[in-house]
């Protein structure tokens, strides 16, 4: 019975297949029922397997179910096999649980859309691919899921493909991910080359018995991390995620906040043995994560689009997760992934509710004072903001604190300071968002105000559930100062992620760090309060005083423009040159000339084909005469 977990991905897959094949003929009510139901069944299976896992002792090792051998080339084999251990259990629960709530929410959010069935088919397909990614027991199958979620992300970002910007954003996401995937594939190839297998267990064994040299392990780890950078939108491959907000808001919540973008973190945590072994990669990851956290946070400070603020916030929070992985606190990184899934999807869905209420308005400059109109959305939004800002007793506080404490404990003070700076900004931009949206003067479009309405129950109930988890989810991973047993989450993950050996910080230091975190969060909120409620003139004054810096940040540090100038435009010009000079002349010339040469000889030979039956018979007869002659003599 415990092996039933392999069914988890296939329920949404079956549903997606039915919706893709027969979706047009199915009534809308049934489509919503089937799509949500499939994910719910999947969630039920995941929960069932999870409790089964709780009852088995960790010595058993991971459950592995091989469905069939998929690739068998010489000595290399890749099975279509799934693995269920604490790490994948948590990921599967998050994907199906949050995914289910977002499916429900989508029923309300997408109800007016003409691509309703297509939307749910793709959403189910995404759930399938994501589950394959987290349940795979080898790198090759993981890559299948990895590409599958990339494809679904492309399809859903470009869901409103008649809008050119959406189609373009989808392509951008796909292409930027390709750059990362190149590294990922190379990493897998190197792994297969040296280890001879891509099974996670084999990789761990290879590290253990010295089959893998440290240099090679570092190379593989860096290549795989490049893949993670692409998928998890880390510097310098972060450019696709803000544009991905062109998709429907629930998609942003599910794919670009809660699940897909965290795949990179999951992958690093899954291969924690390799990353720990290589040694030198950890600090690199931590630095990339910290820089991303700060860099993205600064960009979030000045955005006016409500979803883009959240997108940069996601990039920034992913940076925190990578800090966790980089300093060796893989469990803390996963813990932040898990809490982030709740509060960030909550924020996105609540933002979606605001956008829905305002008939599609996303610019915060045309919001304000919405508190009284949206009695459900406002409190849940506030809960999400408080949780992400790192206010004590909510989930975000515990996970962010765990990462920063660990960074401090590893004496990575630069990382720690960067992390704190990011935390101040996080609190600031989240409350800037709250104040601009829900407080202050109404700057609504009169047309939008006429239709202003609170979202239906089908949207607000999932919000309430997510809000509940945003508050409580953190209590499974309390800080170490509250006792060794407080970190239930970390201990549950121990079979996969070995806890670091070095001793804990002193009690005083720990309390001091927690205090600093609290102060930092409150400071950010306080500044936002001053800037946007008390003295609304200050931001304008700052912009006026530092116009260059504002322009730099507002234009996202011109990263897109740099890429355009350095990579994309030369590529396009070069391609056009090659098209004109090589394709048209050499390639087409070769093809055309060889074809006309064949045609020429064919023309000559075709004179034999007179069309007269007698000539054919004559040749036939000549053949017979020669044949008989040969027989006779």
């Amino acid at each position: 019975m415990t092996e039933i977990f392999w069914l988890i991905p296939f329920v949404p897959a079956a549903s997606a297949l039915v919706l893709i094949l027969f979706g047009r003929r199915l009534p809308k009510r049934y489509v919503s029922f089937q799509a949500c139901g499939a994910v719910f069944v999947s969630f039920g299976l995941a929960a069932f397997s999870f409790f089964g896992l709780l009852n088995t002792s960790p010595e058993h090792g991971p459950l592995i179910k091989t469905l069939f051998s998929w690739i068998g080339v010489g000595a290399f084999k890749a099975g279509f096999s799934f693995q269920f251990d604490p790490l994948s259990a948590i990921m599967a629960l998050v994907v199906t649980g949050v995914g289910f709530l977002i499916h429900i929410y989508s029923v309300g959010y997408m109800s007016q859309d003409k691509g309703y069935t297509r939307y749910f088919a793709h959403l189910n397909l995404f759930t399938f691919a994501m589950l394959v990614l987290v349940l795979a027991s080898n790198m090759v199958l993981m890559f299948v899921g990895w590409e599958g979620v990339g494809l679904c992300s492309y399809l859903l970002i470009g869901f409103w493909f008649e809008k050119p910007s959406a189609a373009k954003a989808g392509m951008k996401a796909f292409i930027v991910n390709r750059i990362g995937d190149a590294g990922f594939i190379l990493g897998i190839l190197f792994l297969v080359m040296t280890v001879g297998s891509s099974e996670f267990s084999a990789i761990a064994a290879a590290v253990g018995n010295g089959l893998l040299s440290q240099g090679l392990a570092t190379l593989i780890a860096i290549l795989l991390f490049i893949g993670a950078c692409g998928k998890s939108a880390q510097l310098p491959l972060h450019v696709w995620l803000p544009d991905a907000m062109e998709g429907p808001t629930p998609v942003s919540a599910l794919i670009h906040a809660a699940t897909m973008v965290t795949a990179g973190v999951y992958m690093v945590a899954r291969l924690n043995v390799l990353y720990t072994f290589s040694g030198t990669v950890g600090p690199i990851i931590a630095l990339v994560g910290a820089l991303t956290a700060v860099f993205a946070a600064t960009m979030a400070l000045v955005q006016n689009d409500i979803k883009r603020v959240l997108a940069y916030s996601t990039i920034s929070q992913l940076g925190y997760m990578f800090i966790g992985c980089g300093v060796g606190a893989y469990a803390a990184g996963i813990f932040h992934l898990y809490t982030h899934a709740f509060f960030k999807s909550l924020l996105f869905l609540a933002a979606g509710s605001v956008i829905h209420a305002l008939s599609g308005e996303q610019d915060m400059r045309r919001m304000g004072g919405l508190k009284k109109y949206l009695p459900w959305t406002y409190p849940v939004f506030l809960v999400g903001a408080v949780a992400i800002a790192g206010v004590p007793f909510l989930s975000g506080f515990f996970s962010k604190d765990a990462i920063l404490t660990r960074a401090f404990g590893q004496r990575q003070y630069v990382i720690w300071v960067l992390g704190l700076a990011g935390a101040v900004m996080t609190a600031f931009y989240m409350f800037r968002l709250i104040f601009l949206t829900f407080y202050g003067v109404e700057r609504l479009d009169p047309e939008a105000k006429k239709h202003l309405h609170e979202s239906p129950k089908v949207m607000t109930v999932p919000l309430a559930i997510l809000a509940f988890f945003s508050i409580t989810a953190g209590y499974v991973g309390l800080p170490a100062v509250l006792g060794k047993k407080a970190d239930v989450f970390g201990r549950f993950l121990e079979p996969v992620i070995k806890p670091a050996a070095e001793g804990h910080l002193g009690l005083g230091t720990e309390w001091f760090l927690i205090l600093i975190s609290v102060v930092v969060a409150l400071l950010g909120i306080f500044i936002a309060h001053t800037f946007y409620l008390k003295k609304p003139g200050i931001p304008h004054g700052l912009v006026a005083r530092f116009p260059r810096i504002y322009k730099l940040i507002y234009n996202k540090y011109y990263v897109d423009e740099i890429y355009d100038g350095a990579v994309i435009n030369p590529l396009i010009t070069g391609s056009e040159w090659i098209y004109a000079h090589f394709d048209l002349k050499v390639v087409d010339g070769t093809v055309n000339n060889s074809a006309s040469a064949v045609g020429f000889f064919g023309k000559i030979l075709s004179y034999l084909q007179t069309g007269l039956v007698k000539d054919y018979a004559l040749i036939f007869l000549l053949g017979i005469v020669i044949f008989i002659g040969v027989l006779l003599f």
């Binding site: 030979l605 004179y607 007179t610 007269l612 039956v613 007698k614 018979a617 004559l618």
Partner: protein
């Protein structure tokens, strides 16, 4: 008794006459007749062989040849009819739509 080689020689003469008829004639019907002559020449050779080697099976083969010839004549003449209807001609040199 007549030596078997006489029959063989007659068969050869008839066969070559059939070939000559095929190349000399220009209408499809007579050319089909020439084919029938060749088939009969072969039949004669088979029967002579049956007689000289005391082998009854050769006669059965001749039976089959005649059957196939009948079928061939029926289809061949039907095709000739069809061609005549479409082209208003049964001259072989008019059928050259397969010219390369």
């Amino acid at each position: 008794m007549i030596p078997a080689s006489y029959f063989f020689l007659l068969s050869v003469v008839l066969f070559v006459l059939g070939i000559i008829a095929f190349f000399l004639k220009r209408d499809l019907i007579t050319q089909l007749m020439a084919v029938e002559i060749m088939l009969n020449a072969a039949n004669l050779a088979f029967l002579a062989l049956a007689k000289s080697s005391n082998f009854l099976d050769a006669q059965v083969i001749v039976f089959f040849i005649i059957t196939v010839a009948a079928a061939e004549a029926a289809i061949g003449l039907a095709i000739v009819m069809l061609i005549f209807r479409q082209k208003k001609s049964i001259k072989t040199e008019d059928m050259r739509s397969m010219k390369g």
